[in-house]
Amino acid sequence: MRDTGRPLPFASAARGVFDLTLDGMVFSRRSLLMGLLVAAPMAFAVLYRVLAATRGQPPLGPTDLYALMVAVYWIRNVLPLAALFYATSLVADEVEGKTLTYLLTRPLTRASIFAGKFAAYVATTFTLALPAAVLTFFILMTAPTAPPLASALADLPRDLGVMLLTLVAYGALFGLLGVLLKRPVIPGLVFLYGWELLANVPGYLPRFTLTAWLRSLVPYRPAEDGLAGLFQQVLPAGQGLAVLIFVSIAFVAAAVWIFSSREYVLDQ
């Protein structure tokens, strides 16, 4: 029996919004483009194996290449970009398409709407990233010059966890930007490729970036000269995990609060 005196329970409301959003997200041009971008390291890995087989061992070892893919390609660049393009549009797409009215005229709290949409974003982007990361790992770590697979395998769940946390933390921030600003993409890009560079300066400033905390969770320190400088300062991993979880919750809570108190005038 439905209780018509209350909004729908949070979990079932969020689940309904999740299902609806997931359908639209998975089968979108955005996902096709992001899928290609996220999966590109698989092509690099295959190319690496072909080159190693035909022209001899490249100067960069398979472990170093995998480390570059995880730490620099996915965690520093592509996953934050995916977060920017998906999370800023969680509410904006519904506003632009004028379909938000249908959600706001159901017995759903706005918190459950945002939560369902955020969960759909994480599920979509992580589903794109997961197979790419696993396949890249196996393609590279089964190379003849790679260390024993059994020892490397222990790192894989941790890498996937950090990638998930990357999507959650940046997604929370960009979700907040999405409900706060009308055009959040440019400020988001400025954050990613301006503010986040503070992670590479000495002193206390890296603590104000997400990159520095995420970097603290991966053990890879690629040995190339040019990149060595990038990884000079490593923050404590335990603290990094706590900070990232805390800021993710704080950003999502702020986004929910703004979304709940804001009017959306869709056809004036």
Partner: protein, 313 residues
């Protein structure tokens, strides 16, 4: 479940409610109560009808005053949407969903289980005559079908209160008639239906009780016939888009109720002026079928002139 206070309160109540967008006043100091039955919200475009409905549907907050729906503030009370349905004006959908998926998704978001979603979806689709098109994507629907599926989502959960913003816009005469009959039936069943329109004759076909909105104010409320009497000297304009517009023009030009007939240069639209709209609409059905009328609307110039007259009085 409803609280005792909510159970005895008026269905929809505006108390000195105003709403402005920056310097523009969309609704100005409105105090009114909407009783059960059908109430027509009549006014020219830009009069404040949509703002009136958006305040009722909790889409906007009043800048001043209070709007209560089923005894609770309309803004920030999502629980009332178990008992309220809104047919918005905007022609907006998740285009990749089929008509059936659209309804089941929204019913699920209203808290119904799978079996009930299925049953209510089928019933709502029948109600708006879209059962045959239920598995087609909404992106491929005609304008009239889109209007009807929008109406179906508003009625599918059997709400006590229905807020319909220009629900028959873009429909062909047959479906317009069907929707008008549906609204009347819902009113007879004791539901509270607020239906906005800028076409007097459309509202008159649904109800006698109207709220006249003009420049953000409730200009008058009461029996639509009093307003209608004022219209006698103003010909009513109807624009019809037909597959065979010349055939339509030839058919209607000889009707006594028709004052003039005009074909647009592109040869798609026929614009008819009539002094006796009831007679005209009554006779239109067969001619519209034969000429393949696909869309019909009525520009609001006549209504504007009535409002100017009322304001000057």
């Amino acid at each position: 479940m409803t609280t005792p206070a909510a159970a005895t309160a008026p269905v929809l109540e505006y108390t000195r409610a105003s709403r402005w967008y920056g310097p523009v006043i969309a609704l100005n100091d409105v105090t009114t109560q909407v009783p059960p039955g059908v109430t027509g919200l009549l006014g020219p475009n830009g009069a404040g009808k949509s703002t009136f409905l958006k305040l009722a549907a909790g889409q906007l907050q009043p800048s001043q005053g209070e709007v209560k729906l089923l005894g609770v503030p309309a803004w920030g009370s999502p629980e009332v949407f178990h008992r309220v349905g809104l047919c918005p004006e905007a022609d907006a959908f998740w285009e990749n969903l089929t008509g059936r998926q659209f309804l089941t998704t929204l019913l699920r978001l209203s808290g119904f289980d799978e079996a009930e979603c299925k049953e209510r979806t089928a019933r709502a689709l029948d109600e708006v005559d879209l059962a045959a098109a239920q598995d087609r994507k909404i992106g491929g629907y005609s304008r009239g079908m889109r209007q009807r599926i929008k109406l179906a989502q508003a009625i599918a959960h059997d709400p006590e209160v229905l807020l319909l913003d220009e629900p028959v816009t873009g429909m062909d005469p047959l479906n317009r008639r069907r929707v008008i009959d549906l609204v009347r039936r819902l009113g007879r069943e004791g539901k509270t239906v607020v239906v906005s329109s800028h076409i007097l004759y459309e509202v008159e076909a649904m109800t006698r009780r109207v709220l006249l909105v003009h420049n953000g104010r409730i200009l008058a409320e009461g029996d639509v016939r009093e307003i209608r009497d004022l219209l006698d000297e103003h010909p009513h304009t109807v624009a019809l888009r037909a597959r065979d517009p010349r055939r339509l023009a030839a058919a209607v030009v000889c009707w006594p109720a028709v004052v003039s007939v005009r074909l647009d240069p592109a040869g798609e639209w026929v614009t008819v002026e009539t002094t006796r709209p009831d007679e005209f609409y009554g006779a239109l059905h067969d001619a519209a079928l034969e000429a393949g009328v696909v869309e019909m609307h009525s520009p609001d110039e006549n209504l504007e002139s009535v409002f100017r007259y009322l304001v000057a009085r």
